[in-house]
């Protein structure tokens, strides 16, 4: 059985599983949640299933991986075998185990980074739109200035200044991405703060935090959620590319980006093993985008004719 065939078969299997999952969810839910599940396209179910599998793999990595993450357990570049299902890397660590641990590191860090960027970016963006005046001006112009610098170069610069640890990596990428989120959140919130219900809440004497949290955020949620998915992919790619450049997640921690770089020589020998981490990135990106598309579709209020 060829490699391409096994990939197609694998994807078909995932879609079938997604279909079953959707059916099960529809059975289990009632009321409003059920009507959402009823509208869910198969691609979205597929996306959710893939994300779930990644999450489970990331959380249960020590239990699933046959070998430890950093230990040298065999010779260099061993081929696929019963013992090492996906062979070993250039210093003899088990590929499959590192792929599994990589889910934990790469996806986990990307998730934390995106979440941080969103909390900071959207709260500040909505606050700027709500307050207006010089606070809005100061924040927005500062963000404009940051956005004028190309993201990758800016992150490289900051990482060189502050050194490369996981914490700085997360903070730097979150800071860069928060500027984009700020822009979106501010634009969306500007359309909301002029509504009468915001005026009514101000008349009631509500504070800024309540206005942001209860009155504006629920109405800005749809575009923000969609943007979250998109940003998540970008962050993911940013981390991978930084790792590929050697400034991201540092060895010996397993990371999909650096795994591609480290084992790239194998490609010249016709071995597709180094492409597997890249494939993992691609699959997750596609899955997240399926879910995002579904959210966009729901937010836009378009219904099938």
């Amino acid at each position: 059985m060829g490699f391409a065939a096994s990939i197609i078969l694998g994807l078909a299997g995932l879609f079938a599983l997604a279909w079953v999952l959707r059916l099960a969810v529809r059975r289990a839910l009632t009321g409003h949640a059920r009507s959402i599940a009823n509208d869910m396209p198969l691609t979205a179910a597929f996306g959710i299933l893939v994300i779930l599998i990644y999450a489970i793999v990331a959380i249960a990595a020590p239990a699933l991986a046959p070998f430890p993450e950093r230990e040298i357990v065999g010779g260099q570049f061993q081929p696929w075998s019963a013992e090492h299902l996906l062979g070993t890397d250039r210093i003899g660590r088990d590929m499959l185990s590192r792929l599994i641990y990589g889910a934990r590191n790469t996806v986990g860090i990307a998730f934390v980074t995106t979440a941080l960027a969103f909390v900071v970016g959207s709260v500040l963006g909505i606050w700027a739109a709500l307050t207006g005046g010089w606070i809005d001006q100061a924040l927005s112009r500062f963000v404009d200035a940051l956005m004028a610098i190309p993201a990758l170069i800016f992150s490289l610069l900051l990482l060189t200044i502050f050194g490369t640890s996981v914490v700085t990596l997360v903070l730097v990428i979150a800071a860069v991405d928060a500027t984009r989120v700020f822009r979106l959140a501010r634009a969306v919130a500007q359309g909301i703060v002029v509504m009468d219900y915001i005026e009514a809440a101000k008349l009631r004497g509500e504070g800024s935090w309540f206005l942001i949290r209860r009155e504006i955020l629920p109405n800005a949620m749809a575009p923000l959620v969609a943007e979250f998915g998109l940003r998540f992919c970008f962050v993911f790619l940013a981390i991978s590319s930084l790792s590929f450049l050697g400034l991201g997640i540092q060895p010996p921690t397993a990371d999909w980006g650096s795994m591609v770089k480290d084992n790239a020589t194998l490609i010249t020998f016709g071995d597709i093993t180094p492409l597997l981490p890249a494939g993992c990135i691609a699959l997750l990106t596609v899955a997240v985008n399926f879910v995002v598309d579904w959210q966009l579709y729901r937010a836009s209020g378009l219904k099938e004719q």
Binding site: M195, D196, Y197, E199, A200, A201, K202, L203, R204, G205, E206, R214, E215, P218, N219, M221, Q305
Partner: protein
Amino acid sequence: MGRDVLLKIEGLRIEGRSGDTWTEIVKGIDLTLHKGEVLGLIGESGAGKSTVGLAAMGFARDGCRITGGSILFDGIDLRKASEAKKRDLRGARIAYVAQSAAASFNPAHKLIDQYCEAPVVHGVMSRDKAEHDAIDLYRRMQLPDPDGIGFRYPHQVSGGQLQRAMTAMAMSCRPDLIIFDEPTTALDVTTQIEVLAAIRDIVRQFDTAAIYITHDLAVVAQAADRIKVLLRGEEVEEAPTRQMLDAPREAYTKSLWAVRSFARPEQPPAAGTPVVSVKGVTAAYGTVNVLEDVSFDIHAGRTVAVVGESGSGKSTTARVITGLLPPKSGAVLFEGKPLPPALKGRTREQLRQVQMIYQMADTALNPKLKLRELIGRPAQMYLGLQGKALDDRVRDLLNLIELEPAKYIDRLPGELSGGQKQRIGIARALAAEPQLIICDEVTSALDQIVQEGILKLLNRLQGEFGLAYMFITHDLATVRAIADEVVVMQRGRVIEQGPKAEMFAPPHEPYTDLLLSSVPEMDPDWLTRLLESRAAAS
């Protein structure tokens, strides 16, 4: 009328989609329109008036489909006609005038360019000829500066002028049939008269047939030869205008006629310290004064109606009272003590005493919050209610506004009708247990029957809780129904004020007189008489 039949609709059925199910919204309507005749189509919202109007062009809105019946326009079956054929008819032989001209004009093009589009596309006239024709029609529509107005952009002319320019545009190809969909509903009473008169004249001049859709009977009585009443997609009755007005047959029609009969009994003159006094308030947006020396009092248990055209400063006065716009000079007193001018300076207790109900319930209620939180929040915030006590309070409030708590408490505003949403706005204001409620055009976006329900509710609540209302409106029928005192405003000044009985009896200030005489009456000759008397006076 023994003239040729222009439009004949038989057994028209239209279905509308909600979610996955199709429900019938027009249930077998028959309609015959002769050449040069004006048919008034009236009913509440949801009666299917607009849907029938559009069907007369062979058109069904998105989410609607025509499922039965026949539509014959001058012998052409519009249900069987191809899209290309229908496109040829639309604009050329059938024209449509929408409710909001401001939303229907393309803001990026000059009026005359939009006028010329249809005649040139349909090959009726050359561009030059169309321009001359436009100016001629603008003159006939009595637009100011007919030679130049066409070269302005839509935002550069007023709403009433825009509506007339829209009607002129509909006439551009001299169609056989024009469909007017609530053409004056969004306008002030004084502007409404001008548009109504212009529409009536031009339709007569060119002997055009028209379908005039509205929910305002007095308006349709001025323009229509015949009136057809619709209710939930079915015809209630149809008769020539005079006969319909003098002797409506069906109970539903009679109830439509009786809506404006609601009136609050005369109250004794109020005494004691007023709840709120506005004292010599002058306010400005930037450097432009929008209020000049405005003063009036509102007493407990009384309703003060503030009337005037749009731009007269009614809503700005409300903004000053609520503290959203601190005045340049003057003050707002609450029970004799001055309120801090800006919102931020006021205590929670001061904020609680003045509540507001908005014109558009759609934008005044957060669409993502359930009624439980929408209504409960003020009670939680001002009165410190929690848990069970809060839940009980919300249920009480829902009962007060005549919505069944068990059914509605966990709904979102989007799941309610327009009138129900406005009731939620009222409940939210009541939840704070205020002394003054400012009602900003609360009924103007609603149908007459729903309006009456809201007015009755407000009146009942006023009796129960001794509330003071400041009632901002441009609708004098509403004033007559609910007010104790009336304040007339024009260009930021108070022109006249006093008890209702005095205000509705002569002598008046000229502006008050203009406002009062502009309220349409249920008499087909009213407009003609009014225009004659105004022409004689000037």
